[in-house]
């Protein structure tokens, strides 16, 4: 399986594990380069990568300038759902789009699990 295929499998499993609360997700690099995605029709995958990376970058700068340590996740609550950008190791981010009232505890837990899976794939490929 290709690297992108392996990452897409992780993303699909992540979405399934959240019971439908995550409606789309992507793995992007911190420079805005899209790596893999499972997104609803009509969502521009390149834009998700670019915006997710920008938001996470600004969050990182805020944490640094205000001495808050490393950013663990960035979440934007919208009236129709949330955007959660989480560093998953190296220079990668997991960007998740959720429904309006998701189970955030479960989502954060599954993000951690997905992050571990991403790291394993990266290590295997080295």
């Amino acid at each position: 399986m290709s690297l992108r295929g392996e990452f897409e499998k992780i993303l699909r499993e992540f979405m399934e594990a959240t019971g439908g609360d995550v409606v789309g997700c992507a793995l992007a690099r911190t420079d805005g380069l899209m790596v893999a995605s499972v997104l609803p029709a009509g969502v521009d995958r390149r834009r998700i990568a670019a915006l997710g990376a920008t938001v996470a970058g600004v969050a990182g700068k805020l944490c640094k300038d205000l001495d808050r340590g490393e950013p663990l996740r960035t979440m934007i609550e919208g009236s129709k759902g949330n955007l959660i950008a989480t560093p998953v190791g190296g220079n990668m981010l997991l960007v998740a789009l959720t429904t309006e009232s998701p189970n955030l505890g479960l989502i954060f837990l599954e993000i951690e699990r997905a992050a571990e899976d991403v790291k394993k794939v990266m290590e295997k490929r080295r």
Partner: protein, 147 residues
């Protein structure tokens, strides 16, 4: 710095330094988008898409000969790598000032425009592997196909 280019370099320096100060690493994603915007608006319609070499050559001509943003651009294809040498860049002074402030060379418009062109023409994602100054007047940009 040529006097005529001083205002341009001053403005570009201010924009880039301010962006880096607020957005940090997020600036890389913003620059990638700026490269796409420049490519879509000013370059794409005149790119010869019949082969990668011709696409590179037409992009070189548009940037160096039509827009005159530098004296010359040369390129070499090495497998998944594209090496681009830019000489006589009109933003050299802004770049120097950014480097003096320890800001990484992520604001290079040539690199980001070429990435946008390569992604459009080949359909594959490309990464800016490195940007380095090789002499007083020349910079070497290395782009890599990643997926």
């Amino acid at each position: 710095m040529a006097e005529a280019l001083k205002p341009l370099n001053t403005l570009v320096y201010g924009l880039c330094a301010g962006l880096w100060d607020l957005a940090g690493e997020g600036s890389k994603a913003i620059m990638r988008q700026i490269g796409r915007e420049l490519y879509e608006r000013f370059i794409k319609e005149n790119v010869d898409r019949s082969s990668l070499e011709r696409a590179l050559e037409s992009t070189r001509k548009i940037m160096a000969e039509q827009f005159k943003v530098c004296e010359d651009i040369s390129y070499t294809l090495k497998g998944d790598l594209v090496e681009i040498k830019v000489s006589g860049c009109i933003l050299a002074e802004a770049t120097k000032m950014l480097m003096e402030k320890n800001i990484p060379p992520i604001f290079c418009p040539y690199a980001n425009v070429f990435v946008a062109m390569l992604e459009d023409v080949t359909g594959s994602s490309h990464d800016i592997k490195s940007i380095e100054k090789v002499s007083e007047r020349e910079s070497l940009i290395i782009l890599e196909k990643v997926a």
